[in-house]
Amino acid sequence: MSYRIAQIRLVNSHPEVYDPCDDSFALVDALLADRTNLLEHRPIFCLEIGCGSGYVITSLALLLGGDVCGSYFIATDINPHALDVTSDTLKAHGVHAELVNTDVAAGLEGRLMGLVDVMVVNPPYVPTPEEEVGCDGITSAWAGGENGRSVIDKILPIADRLLSDKGWLYMVTLTANDPSDICLQMKKKGYAARIVLQRSTEEESLHVIKFWRDPNSKLEANEAKVLNHGTAIGSFISQFSQVSLWKS
């Protein structure tokens, strides 16, 4: 059975905006794979950081049933052209999201703190020279600095502040980003993690990771830190069946 997601022919484009690509498809496929859980989750505030063409936020709104489902969709992008394109893409599919032109979630962090039930991020993860991070236009869509981690590492603490007690974060990562380390950083903040989708393309190996708050995670991460013992962290990482692929 197939569900309604954004259709590529209805996704608008612009020379300065990142078109939906393998990473966008991976994120939407991960949301589709987790659709039953998402519907049961009944999220109120849903937030996408870096909406680009609008393919992902449109698909999320369609998956959850749009405004009538009782969810409120907000999407941000640092690139103003991206918000124009996202606005068109949303309209073409008959769904609505509120759009904010900002860096990650600046301006929303104060009031939206602890309210976000679902957060989706396809960050700029491509390893690049640091000075390319946050450049104008389409470069901001992919330039991720050293190991592609600059923007990811900026987003993680913001996600932690914004997510509600029951909040979920879905994030796309590349092997070069060291996803096991990202999971460890989030574990220290008290999050458990699961790989929702793993996909290798000709160019890259992508993981979509889902994070949620889990009191035991912080405890275990602290114990691991105190012990400073490789196996403690190793046992955490080994919960991911695909871990060997991260190193390939």
């Binding site: 109120i44 009782g70 409120y72 032109n101 104060g110 009031r111």
Partner: protein, 122 residues
């Protein structure tokens, strides 16, 4: 931009301690019909700053919301409909959001607020 979104925005310029609520300057308001969802509204009531919503809705030309509200009023269909209209159906299409502390202006164009800060504001 809906007033629910306005209710979730604040000025986060470096050094600003009270950046909420952003004062609205209206150039153009549009009204868009949205499905009425009482459960959503009841959920939202606890999450918003009601006083900021009342002020914002009046600036946008809608004066029907009472000055004060309490949870018991959520049982009233009349109140819920007004709350719904103010929160969900009034859009600031063109205008400005002004930081209450510094007067810094954040433009709103085509319904999208620009909250990007300059380098010396971060």
């Amino acid at each position: 931009m809906r007033l629910l979104t306005h209710n979730m925005l604040s000025s986060n310029i470096k050094g600003v301690t009270n950046g909420f609520p952003l004062r609205i300057e209206v150039e153009k308001v549009v009204e868009k019909s949205v499905d009425f969802n009482p459960d959503f509204l009841k959920n939202m009531f606890a999450k918003i700053e009601y006083k900021a919503l009342v002020e914002a809705s009046r600036i946008m030309g809608y004066a029907e919301l009472p000055d004060h509200a309490e949870p018991s009023m959520l049982e009233s269909d009349d109140f819920l409909r007004k709350f719904h209209h103010a929160l969900m159906e009034l859009h600031l299409e063109e205008g400005t959001l002004v930081c209450p502390e510094t007067g810094r202006r954040f433009p709103v164009n085509k319904g999208v607020p620009n909250m990007l800060l300059h380098e010396d504001e971060v």
